[in-house]
Amino acid sequence: MNIDKIFALSLRHVYLIKGSFPRILDLIYWPTIQIFLWGFISKFFTLNSSYFENTVGIILSAAILYDFLFRSSISYNMMFLEEIWSRNFTNLFIAPIKISEIIAALTFTAIFRTLIGLVPAALLAIPLFGVSIFKIGIPLIFLLITLYIFGVTLGLLVTSGLIRFGPSFENIAWASLFFLAPLGCIYYPVEILPDWLQIIAKLLPLVHIFEEMRNVLIHDIVNYYQILKAIIISFIYFVFGIVIFYLSYEGAKNRGTLINMGE
């Protein structure tokens, strides 16, 4: 892989973000809205429920982590969609850049976009609701890495769909994460799900990530085995995502859709 080319492709997206205030605002806007929404909902539950001592902290932390996943996947999809919308797709694919370099550039640039959205929201939660996600401590780093790998994987799968089916797949890009949210057990323990659905849910890294987050926040215990399991599952999905991306790319070359993909 050529670092210069990965940098060049990242630079294209950095220029795009840097040159547009509405884009930066958009990146910050949604995570912040999430924090407000879930902050007030969980505050209400705290005042009217005795389930958790720290309902606000748990639900808000879950919201922040879920948003991190959401942003990382959407950032990945968005950067790919930008190429389609701007009809730059052909130019990109005839440049001497490997598919692995395109994936690497999108993966590294997505973190930049994700953090622009997440950091202000996470910081805002501290004075507003007295909730700091950083209280999770060292495990937070591993949870974020796992979420990021899985977010990028979802991005890879959606972009594979975009290559395979064209821009008409765009709606799926937006809907993909909402589809997984109920199974991810983000705001509730996995035991809430029916037994048969629990088996399916546990095949997703999300269950392990959010279970562990609650474990740390409620019991103040870190189960690194659970974290490792989440990382391994995410990584398996990531490899699967890469394989699907390559297959879609080869399929698009066979169908001739790369040459005139646009709006």
Binding site: L16, E82, N91, I94, P96, K98, K253
Partner: protein, 244 residues
Amino acid sequence: MKLKVQNLVKKFNSIIAVNDISFEIEKNSTLGLLGPNGCGKTTSIGMMLGLITPTSGKIYINDTCLEPKNRIELLSFMNFASPYIELPKKLSVKQNLEVYARLYGVEEIDKRVDEMVEDLNIKSFLYKKTGELSSGQKNRVSLAKSLINKPKLLFLDEPTASLDPDVGDFVREYIEKYKKNNELTILLASHNMKEVERLCNKIVMMKQGEIVDSGTCDQLIKKHGRQNLEDTFLKIARSNYEHR
């Protein structure tokens, strides 16, 4: 760079888009790929750029067969311009040229960008967003991008489509001038017959995915008993072509 296309076929399910075409472009010459809309020109170019996988046949670039394993290496010597593809609209012209210079591994990026800016009269809109440019300006930027890596093999798909006569003439003149001073082989797909007459050493005429005729402009005009290339094109396009 020399380009050789050998028995190239592309089928999309039951549709034969390109049917057994073969031709060669000598180093530093310009070949015009002509034919009515939907005759397979863009599909053929797509295969030569490695964007479309041929059903069968070979493409040789300087005697090296274009394959997935050497595609990236060969692409660094090639480039493509077409009014039907664009550069990121929200980036300035300079940013776009810089990004593409990096993607093509250009050394001394600033110097090369400055050269293109100077040559193609881009300076006045260098910092403007690419999406805000007029067709003529966009066209010049697209040409600058296609020459940023000093390609040895350039594919031009209707490079002057939708341009006013003045800008169109500027582009044609620039391509002529650039070719004189640089080692460059061009494959030009165009519907502008005057442009083809002016720029091309040889012509390949396609119809329904097949090559129906080829030769120099004069040879084709004479062969079909017409006054100019436009009339020759019309005659071929409207005739009931029989298989070779």
